[in-house]
Symmetry: C2
Subunit: 151 residues, 2 copies
């Protein structure tokens, strides 16, 4: 596996793997997106809310913007929508410039429900695999998570 030919082959295969992975991710989310519309909360709001609910508690607007890979003005408006909808509360901090964003009880509930719906669709699709395939899939998702951290 160290001679030139193997490396060239591996590179080409890696490119193809990357291409298929990218395409699979797009199609996966496109299908799951449908279930999200039931919650009446936009996708960016839902994703930001999930950081507050599942991502380990309250944070500032800037931290949230960074977590969501979005500019501060964009996050400012997303948060404004979440606050308007009663899903997030703005709290004070020692530093008067910062805000402390916290999910409300209703925000938590709505997020968990949406998450359940999405994941149920996917779990249903997964159930069509054999137990063996599902087991392998589970192992391999760990590899995927490693890859994503390297992106």
């Amino acid at each position: 596996m160290t001679d030139v030919k193997s490396k060239r082959l591996a590179g080409g295969e890696t490119f193809e793997t990357a291409d298929r992975l990218h395409s699979a991710a797009i199609h996966l989310l496109r299908r799951l997106r449908v279930r999200d519309r039931e919650s009446r909360v936009g996708p960016a709001q839902l994703s930001a809310l999930s950081v507050l609910v599942l991502g380990g508690g309250p944070r500032s607007l800037g931290e949230l913007a960074e977590a969501e890979q979005v500019r501060p003005p964009t996050m400012s408006r997303i948060v404004a929508g979440l606050v308007r909808a009663g899903l997030v509360r703005r709290g004070k901090t020692e530093d008067g410039r910062r805000v402390r964003l916290v999910a409300t009880a209703r925000g938590s509930r709505i997020l968990q429900e949406g998450r359940r719906r999405r994941v149920e669709s996917l779990a249903h699709a997964l159930s069509s695999l054999s137990n063996e395939d599902r087991e392998r899939l589970r192992e391999l998702i760990e590899h995927l998570e490693k890859v994503i951290r390297n992106l």
Copy 2:
């Protein structure tokens, strides 16, 4: 693997697998999205263009809307943008109501370049895995494609 306890366990694990898969897909695309901004073509336009370029040739607006899981008025405007940018051409068909949407040479080139950029980022991340892990990931993707067809 057929007694009640195993089934319950498997269900819970499947839910968790689905959850992690969903989260992985979100984060994967969020990172790759950055590279797409270089092309100056919006994400919906890029995705629609990819159907025309990679998805086996020209189609009608309705077919494109269905492929992209979007309503016709939405696709109508996405196509208008692509035509304005010179990436897609509207052709006639026997049925006077339908349009035949074809990617232009420039549209094809722009799409392929963007695809190369995205996939290169991902391939680079994949290259940090061992050969064995990469091989297993390749297998995972086949399972994943099967799952997505079942969604």
